[in-house]
Symmetry: C2
Subunit: 265 residues, 2 copies
């Protein structure tokens, strides 16, 4: 039994997950492409439904096909025609007929697991989903524990964020909180907070990053506001040798994350 109509009720529901509002109200998210679906399986992310287009999957390497077939035995699976499948997302993720609806895995503040050697990231009012995803991918590389979103931040479950994260979102703790609660969390776990500011005296290369540490990154246009800066134990700047007054926030987070990483716990 395969779905052959683009206006099938369930297909319409899945397509709606492209909207941030629908993702919020359902607590679900659509992920597309074999890489992300395999990552979700391997990280034991709760999958609500697999969506597969067998004709398109024929191009996948044999081991991936087998892994997906095995997974489909234990998970509700929707089979569609290529034409129906291609209505579910942007073209570049659709080639291999593999998608899934997953449950979002937000962790409430009080349940976040904090360890002595941790590196954490907080982003205030992050605007672009691709930046959120790229920061998560770099967090994975630098072995960071999790990310907190304060203010009016973009949705890391946005398709562009998930794609840029390469699935790192599935294995990194994430939480949405206000900066007051972040202050309480910082004190409770004795976390050292380092923020970036173009007017800071010291360079990010000279800071010590004692663990657990939290790297606080500001909004793309405004940087960190006064309320967020007040939560920082230390402000550092990234040297800017040219005409631009700041780096892309995901590049800045990358420099901070790897700097903290190299100051080993």
């Amino acid at each position: 039994m395969r779905i052959t109509s683009r206006s099938n009720q369930r297909i319409k529901e899945i397509r709606k997950l492209q909207s941030a509002k629908e993702r919020r109200s359902s607590g679900q998210c659509l992920i597309t492409g074999p890489h992300l679906v395999v990552e979700a399986l391997q990280t034991k992310t709760p999958i609500q439904q697999l969506i597969l287009a067998p004709e398109l999957m024929a191009q996948l390497p044999q081991p991936v096909q087998e892994l997906l077939a095995e997974a489909a035995k234990g998970i509700s699976t929707l089979y569609t025609t290529p034409a129906v499948f291609e209505t579910l997302g942007s073209r570049r993720d659709m080639f291999f007929g593999t998608a899934a609806v997953i449950e979002q895995q937000w962790t409430p503040l009080e349940q976040l697991q904090v360890h002595r050697g941790d590196i954490w990231v907080a982003c205030d009012s992050l605007q672009y989903p691709a930046n959120a995803g790229t920061i998560l991918r770099t967090m994975d590389g630098a072995g960071a524990a999790g990310i907190m979103f304060t203010g009016d931040s973009t949705d890391p479950y946005d398709p562009a964020a998930i794609r840029a994260s390469q699935g790192a979102l599935f294995s990194k703790q994430h939480s949405r909180i206000d900066s007051k609660s972040l202050g309480t969390w910082i004190r409770r776990h004795d976390v050292h907070v380092v923020g970036t500011s173009p007017s800071a005296a010291g360079s990010y290369r000279e800071a010590a990053y004692p663990r657990p540490c939290l790297l606080y990154m500001g909004n793309e246009q405004r940087g960190l506001g006064p309320e967020e800066m007040a939560l920082c134990h230390e402000l550092v700047r990234i040297p800017m040798a040219g005409r631009c007054d700041s780096l892309n926030v995901a590049v800045a987070a990358g420099l901070m994350l790897y700097e903290a990483f190299h100051h080993n716990a």
Copy 2:
């Protein structure tokens, strides 16, 4: 005299610059938003024409309005209605009624200015314009001299690239070349070439980056190919502590650029 019709011949020509093919054949490029236009003016980038929508410009800070009015005296300027102006680009760059057609500033290989203390970047078959732009912005921050594109690389004059570069493209030398010519250039200027590879023995933190140095970054999916690796004097890896096998190329370039920057000339 203002253009009031969206199907005005000149407006149609300008809109065509959204296509890579048209940018290549014309050697021109449309930049949108007051920040980029002011950067183009201040870096003395040749402007072929200013396109202004006075009603929208009313929201601009007074000094910017004055700077643009002064510039318009010496440059061919097209005035349009807001409705016509908004057909020229993506919504977020259109608020302030300020755009310009500029001449692309590629430098032929033999005319590139190379100095002893230089940091250069080369990108092979870079796929996404936003990555090209973000790398240029970071090059500006780290004081790099210029960038070379080898293979089938994206167009740094793509609107997404220009936006991500924050105008750094206007002040950084850039050249398109094949890897054979790159080899000749490297030998002629005695440039030390550092490439990234996940299988390299040494970490990017342990390399020395003697100047002039060239950081060679690979394609988003495949990394550097054998032909490009053969041009490198040294291969380094970026430690990956988690599940992902690589970083976003612009983040990786950021780590390499600032590492080289901190090994002062």
